[in-house]
Amino acid sequence: MKILGFLLLVSGWAIVLTAVALLTEGTPRAAFVLAGIGVECVGVALLIRAHPVRRGEHE
């Protein structure tokens, strides 16, 4: 899950870069940038779930 989380972070960033580089119209570009950030948010959520407190290990 941790690797998937990081993959989503990088994928979201790639979507943002692609939108900036390839799209010229303002609205679609903004929509894809926001979509890329949305993908990153999903990645962060996965990373949070992938880092639970390892109970017992640090107590």
Binding site: L9, W13, V16, G43, H51, V53
Partner: protein
């Protein structure tokens, strides 16, 4: 016979004076981190702070500035979609070929040395009471020698984020007046990576996942650190605005007013929230709110009105206070210094506030005209996406690899004994130790 050395003109001299204030921000952060940690780790944390500042300065001197560079200096370029993207400076190691004479590049090199150290101090708060001195030293070398200069080139060295305006018409390109992204958000995200890799302190979470309160050992250090940090932030924000955003030296007054308004509003917002929720204001959360306000001020302090700066601060105080609780209770991230909330959340909010509030000078305009640029908010969002989608995986990956080769967390015995005795052999407050023989009759 040679004449007297030429004097610096006013602007470089004033900029230099501001840069020389920046170490006060480092001193403030070191005091805050130490005060919010345990007494038995205080000396180790201050020692770590000094080592971090030293290693960051050296790493940045060796290769950092070569990678960061300065606008209009040689750089490595990629061509994407017919547009040039500058992704890394092509400078010389050891500051070779940088005229150390008050030129903008030389001032940027000095500011970079101090900023890299400031960035590396932020994760110390998240790793307090369990981060080994050797590990945080190596981690600092990676941060100051590679991660920080790479991103700083994109923002302050004429890199692709700064070029978003000229290449793609996104406002004036990504703008960061005083380091909300390059210093605060990067330091805060590195703090998150460190907190994840190290795990929580022993005894922080019970078997059923409930956090236990481990209060900081010295609120006086924490609150004094806040005031000290304000002076450092004045230097940071003013010198950044002059060096990297072409602001006139007179902007320093606006920067100073906006910086203190943002910090004051954020600190008071945090105090009010904690008073409302817990019946009494909480000193450590108020300090976190203050620092969050400072971090947020770094984004747009040179380009907003005082009322807007105060509003940015209020929201920073609210965000930081809620984020501290969310991280501890919901996400189970143990961050004794509140570094992630104050610097990452505060810094990201500061970056976004540029797109919402800033009135930026028109390019190539001789008249002092400022305006809100359409597309500026999108440039700021691209910067935020880069921090979360590139900087966080990079800094996590580097620290994870380091942890494989050289475990970053202190041993169980070290944590029980305290970092001071285990790593330094002496505590920070030896006269406060109770010796049993003092109470036995002779």
């Amino acid at each position: 016979m040679s004449g007297p050395p030429p004097a610096l003109s006013d602007t470089p001299a004033i900029c230099l004076a501001f840069i020389l204030l920046v170490p006060l921000a480092g001193a403030g952060l070191a005091l805050i981190n130490t005060g919010l940690g345990r007494a038995r780790s205080a000396a180790q944390l201050m020692m770590s702070s000094l080592c971090v500042l030293s290693i960051a300065a050296l790493a940045y001197f060796v290769c950092g500035f070569a990678f960061q560079g300065f606008p209009d200096q040689p750089a490595h370029w990629l061509t994407i979609g017919g547009k040039p993207w500058s992704w890394l400076a092509d400078g010389h190691l050891f500051l070779h070929h940088v005229a150390l004479d008050g030129s903008p590049a030389s001032l940027a090199a000095l500011l970079g040395m101090l900023s890299a150290g400031l960035t590396a101090l932020i994760p110390l708060g998240a790793g307090a009471d369990r981060w080994r001195l050797g590990a945080c030293s190596i981690s600092t070398a990676l941060l100051a020698g590679w991660t920080y200069p790479l991103f700083a080139h994109w923002v302050w060295g004429g890199g692709w984020l700064a070029q978003l305006g000229s290449n793609y018409g996104l406002g004036r390109g990504f703008i960061d007046s005083g380091g909300a992204s390059t210093i605060q958000a990067m330091g805060g995200l590195t703090a998150l990576a460190i907190a994840w890799i190290l795990g929580p302190r022993r005894g922080k979470y019970t078997h059923d996942g409930m956090p236990s309160a481990i209060p900081g050992h010295n609120a006086v250090l924490v609150l004094f650190g806040c005031v000290l940090a304000l002076a450092g932030w004045w230097g940071l924000n003013a010198s950044g605005a002059i060096l990297f955003n072409g602001a006139d030296r007179g902007v320093a007054v606006r920067v100073a007013i906006n910086t203190i308004l943002s910090a004051a509003s954020a600190g008071l917002a945090a105090a009010l929230i904690t008073h409302t929720r817990f019946g009494k204001p909480d000193a450590s959360l108020t300090a976190n709110g203050w620092i969050g306000g400072l971090a947020a001020s770094s984004g747009a302090c040179a380009f907003v009105e005082p009322l807007e700066a105060a509003f940015i601060g209020v929201l920073a105080g609210v965000f930081v206070t809620l984020a501290v609780e969310w991280l501890e209770l919901r996400v189970s991230v143990d961050d004794p210094g509140g570094s992630i909330a104050a610097h990452a959340i505060g810094g990201l909010w500061g970056v976004l506030s540029v797109g919402i509030f800033a009135e930026l000078p028109l390019p190539a305009s001789t008249a002092p005209v400022a305006a809100r640029h359409p597309g500026q908010w999108l440039a700021q969002l691209v910067g935020i996406a880069t921090l979360i989608g590139f900087v966080l995986p990079l800094t996590y990956g580097l620290n994870w690899l380091l942890d494989r080769a050289y475990p970053q967390r202190v041993s169980v015995e070290g944590e029980r004994q305290g970092m001071d005795l285990y790593e330094l052999g002496a505590g920070a407050y030896p006269e406060f130790m109770t010796h049993s023989e003092e109470f036995t009759e002779r």
